[in-house]
Amino acid sequence: MLYWSLKTLFSEPMRLIISALAVAVSFILVIFFSAVFEGESEQMVVYLEEMEADVWVMQKGVSNMHMASSMVWDWKADKIAQMPEVKEVAAILYFNGGVKIGGKDWFSYVIGISPEYRRTGPWAMAQGNAMPGPGEAVIPEVISQLTGVQIGDEITMIDRPLRIVGLSKETFSMSSSIVFVSRGELGDLLEGRDQFSYIMVYAEPGVNAKALAELIKQEIDKVNALTSEAFIASDRQLAVQMGAEIVRMMTMIGTLLATLIVAFTAYSLIARKKQELAIAKALGFGNGQIYLAALSQSVVVTVLGLLFAVLISFTLLEWLPAVVPQINLSIRLHQFTAIAMVTLPVAILASLVAARTVAKLDPMTVFHQ
């Protein structure tokens, strides 16, 4: 019966491919939304990752960078730098908010950097100067491409005009791009000339980051210190919380769509082969065996749909960023695992429609011409 079901399915390859492609479309939707979300989430922590610090120090009570505000006296950076376990520190002033570029507000991480601390600025440049001075800014290259602004053009940050001196790579995100300005400029604006927001700590070789973070919390008053791993995880968690509901909903819609398509395919296949199934019933095959045949067809269509979805997604994900630079896409194995895990329930659920038809199938129809 299983052989019959697969042979019947593959005897009409065009119909099978169209059905599988329809299923693939719904899975691609899920993969695409998931990839956008994952890409955006990764982009939100890209600065933290690129800095490669061992420990991040911030104002007490703060444990995030995204949507957070932190102020730490600058002498605390010096004090941390003097600890024997610390090899080097770097510090930035930071705020998040809208920056007007090319007539449009872009929600950005504005990072105030100073030449005394290496590593705090952009890590990859497309064009221009990576270290903005007073009245200057480095913006993401993608915003320049999208708005047409160039080096030398003006942008506005809290009513203060700044001249673009550099275009950075890998710093654009739909929800939080990174704009670099001079620490002095930002300190002026935030009235925090003698303050930092975050201090990056680089430990001496062999020093445990977690122990160092604990030590800093004990030694330095009113600060929070997190290992880089914990700090990134905390920001990523925030991103997930913000987008998880949307992604869950999109996944549900995609899965529902896939289920409906597979159900329709399974049902139409059963409906078209009713007479043959009635023959099988008359010859002595039971409802269970016939239902398994219908299920196997659903599973094949669904798995084939998933394979198509993966192939098409990978092709699209390679090609899309070049065409639509503002989209950050990222595919990880766990996303495919999650989709692969819903595949079987989708196939089973979809074949239930066919099961009803199988159960009602009258073997007496074999006598009809």
Binding site: T8, S11, I279, G284, F285, G286, N287, F367
Partner: protein
Amino acid sequence: MNTDTLLKAIALNKYFGQGDALVRAVENVSLEIRRGEMVLIMGPSGSGKTTLLSMLGALLSPTSGQIAIAGTDISSMKAAALAALRAQKIGFVFQAFNLLEALSVEENILFPAQLSAEGVQGARERLDELLERLGLTTRRKALPNTLSGGEKQRVAIARALINKPPIILADEPTGNLDSHKGQEVMMILHDIARDEGCAVLMVTHDPRVEEIADRVLWLEDGALRDRKSEQHSWVTDPVCGMRVDEWTASVTTEYNDKKFVFCSARCLSRFNAQPERYLNETKHRVQD
């Protein structure tokens, strides 16, 4: 029950509907078919032949009465047990052939073997034997849509025989075949009954079959009645020239206010395509 009795029905009744809409499709039918016997059920259209065949084939439950298949009383059997019984004890041959379109000739024949104790592999020898016997050896890999009507029916017969069932039930097996192919199929079924010791029960309108059948049961208004063999109304099929019993024929048409009777649907479709040609040929045949 006699050990040679393979199929036995006692006081079978099948009613459909209720009250004024009650239809007595089969009424008080008792019969017994023995090993090696070929029995025909004949009767006018709507007389309950297919309903009776369905009950005897364990496809339809009787309203009352008893059926024993190869010595097993099936009256109280559940659907799953009936399905298993059909797989082991009954071979079906249908008017519409009912082959599985995606499967080749040999795959179609082996299809019910999945349900037998020896399985598909164990049935391969039997498959070769049947292909040889039914002249299908060169067509074993062919798909049903490339076969002629006669070949399709031979495949259906081979499929019915693959599990060596003691009972073969055939529903109008010659209905879609021309007279020559129909005759060939009838002879195959007759030989099977004789050589394999099966009981062949056949519903048919084809009076030519009467000559090779061991017994003819006449069903009218759902009940078995006696009918003497001379009670026929013979007419000639205008297409193939075969003798057809007008009383029992189901394939008929009207042309120029005249009724024409055919031995098969195939002859009817040929007639419908070129009625004048066949009427002329009939005229010449009469003059000759």
